[in-house]
Amino acid sequence: MAEIPDEEFILKTTSACAGCSASLILRYVTKAAGKDTVLVVPACCTSVIQGVYPNTAMNIPVYNVAFASAAAVASGMSEAFRAVGKKTNVICFAGDGGTVDIGIQALSGALERGTDFLYICYDNEAYSNTGMQRSGATPLGASTTTTPLGKKDYKKDLDAIVQAHNPVYMATACSAYPVDLYNKVKKALSIPGPKFMHILAPCPPGWRYPSEKTIEVGKLAVQSGMWVLYERENGKLSISGASKAAMKKRIPVSEYLKVQGRFKTATEEDISVLSEHVENNIKKLEREVEGIC
């Protein structure tokens, strides 16, 4: 395992909420990427936490762009750097709304064209910037300000959509497992071509849990199998440390749900659907690891 460097690229002056795991993710992503990096950030919480002009809490160039445009802007930027022989990392750092909803067309295009970049979706499962409306990534049963009775639709399977584009590398991660996250970013950036990471980012005000529980909630997500840590290199799946254990023995999904106020609206049926989904997903992944498809 590589040592995580001390150098910080996100300074202690952000305007993020206490316990914001999206900023924790950004911290480890930038540590792994290092100085020769440009972040492309569509409208999301990350546009706000950088602070107010003329100041910035970031120590690398951050290009803030329109909500739908991140992956397309990154395409242009990556081609431009490569055209003049520069290896600069181009990393999109986008929320779930900016990825699975309004930004999915640009993401699909950039992946398909083989763009040399890393697209990171930090997934707090709602539009947090505008005050917690549903997104396509909001899970079934969760209440948001536009699903006051709990969401009736399923979380969009972003990973399956991305996988269908055959990126050279794709991985999931979670803010509660920073070493795993760091290593995956390092590996992704060592490979040319389109790379993708989907990182679960628990959000205290949106998910409604006390901010000091932000790591615990991330761990419960993984321990319950609601979130599975894995990577795919050229399509080949390998399950990562913490999720290997969860594949064998899991805590009930309800343990994860009950610490979050947003699931108060979830019905018994929602909970059993979510549990069933976890079981099916894990069975599918196990079969794939064992080479049975």
């Binding site: 803030n64 329109a66 909500f67 909803d101 505008t130 005050g131 536009t146 699903t147």
Partner: protein
């Protein structure tokens, strides 16, 4: 019923009372409360509508187009980047002659990100064929949103209507407002070109230039006819519910030597400035532009007076948009003030200051020019 609420709440309440069948919307600051409140009205059953939580504004307007094409009433709301992201669909909804109603919370465009009030978003959509109104109180936000449905759906108009309210300065301020029982004030929607399975036709088919030309000419016919439709709706509204509106709002214009022309909340602020200026012996008056498209006839009110025009917007390479519209329509020589961009605070004292420093045909950037 007397209610207390924000401009956003007033819009959502008017939507509840106008009873659209389909609402498609996407959140964006500072309009989000409209999206959330209408979702609540649908969830609680107070509004019997289908609510489509789309994945972008291009899709919210597209969904409204699809819904309105079947001949039902539809509504959406947006702001700033959301509005300009819809641009293609704005042109298409107007040219398809669909009576969609939309509320727009006026907000600046990036970069850098700024969520303050500015009229650049809606004014850059000026030529899409949408009617545009600008409101300046919470009550007006309710009343105009309600009237918008009747105006848009009128057989002589059949064009979409955008109700604009200043971000934060109106969307987020709380005032009391009176709701109404619309009854038959808004007649049942009757879209003559709605999709009809028994009378199939091509919509938006490849159209040669001579026909294209006629369709465009008819949009302008609808715009011009809309003046009377707006006036009728506003007069009927006054008769039924007691609140009177015109194409523009005049305040102390009768004997005024100098007029201040503005839109949105600036127009209300200007009325206080007028009172104060009059105490100092300066005979000022205010004209608040309510309907920007169709543009009102201001010739008579401007005639023989000095004019100060405040723009919360700018057309780069040309000038203040409102100033130039008024200048070209009336031939006046206004003192053009650019103020309030990105939510910059503009007080009635500042406005009184503009009047005192007025100079015909000059342009002044408040807070930037000395």
């Amino acid at each position: 019923m007397l209610m207390i609420g924000t401009g956003n709440k007033a819009v959502a309440t008017a939507v509840r009372d106008a009873k659209p069948t389909v609402v498609a919307a996407y959140p964006i600051t500072p309009q989000t409360e409209v999206v959330e409140e209408t979702a609540n009205y649908v969830a609680s059953g107070e509004l019997d509508a289908r609510y489509i939580p789309v994945e972008s504004e291009h899709s919210s307007m597209a969904a409204c187009i699809g819904a309105a094409a079947t001949g039902i009433r539809t509504f959406t709301a947006t702001s700033s980047h959301g509005l300009v992201y819809m641009c293609e669909m704005l042109h298409m909804s107007a040219a398809a002659r669909l009576p969609i109603v939309m509320a727009n919370a006026n907000r600046a465009l990036g970069p850098g990100w700024n969520i303050g009030a500015e009229h650049s978003d809606s004014l850059s959509m000026r030529d899409t064929g949408w009617l545009q109104a600008y409101v300046s109180t919470v009550q007006e936000a309710y009343d105009l949103t309600l009237m918008a449905f009747r105006i848009a759906e009128d057989e002589n108009v059949l064009l979409p209507v955008m109700i604009n309210l200043d971000g934060f300065l109106l969307t987020h301020i709380t005032q009391s407002f009176e709701t109404v029982e619309p009854g038959d004030f808004i007649p049942e929607i009757n879209t003559p070109h709605a999709i009809d399975i028994d009378n199939p036709g091509g919509y938006g088919t490849l159209t040669p230039s001579n026909e294209h030309f006629k369709f465009r000419r008819d949009i302008e016919r609808g715009m011009r006819d809309s003046v009377k439709v707006i006036e009728d709706a506003q007069n009927d509204f006054a008769k039924r519910f007691g609140r009177k509106y015109g194409m523009y709002e005049e305040y102390m214009t009768g004997d005024a030597d100098v007029l201040v022309i503005s839109m949105g909340t600036l127009a209300k602020e200007t009325e206080v400035a007028v009172d104060n200026l009059r105490k100092e012996g300066i005979k000022a008056g205010s004209v608040g532009i309510r309907w920007f498209r169709p543009f009102p006839d201001l010739k008579d009110v401007v005639e023989g007076r000095e004019v100060v025009i405040i723009d919360r917007d700018y057309s780069f390479g040309y000038g203040g948009i409102l100033a130039n519209e008024v200048r070209s329509k009336t031939g006046c020589s206004p003192f053009s003030v650019i103020a309030g961009l990105g939510g910059q605070e503009v007080t009635y004292d500042d406005i009184a200051g503009f009047v005192k420093m007025r100079a015909a045909n000059e342009e002044h950037w408040f807070g930037v020019d000395e």
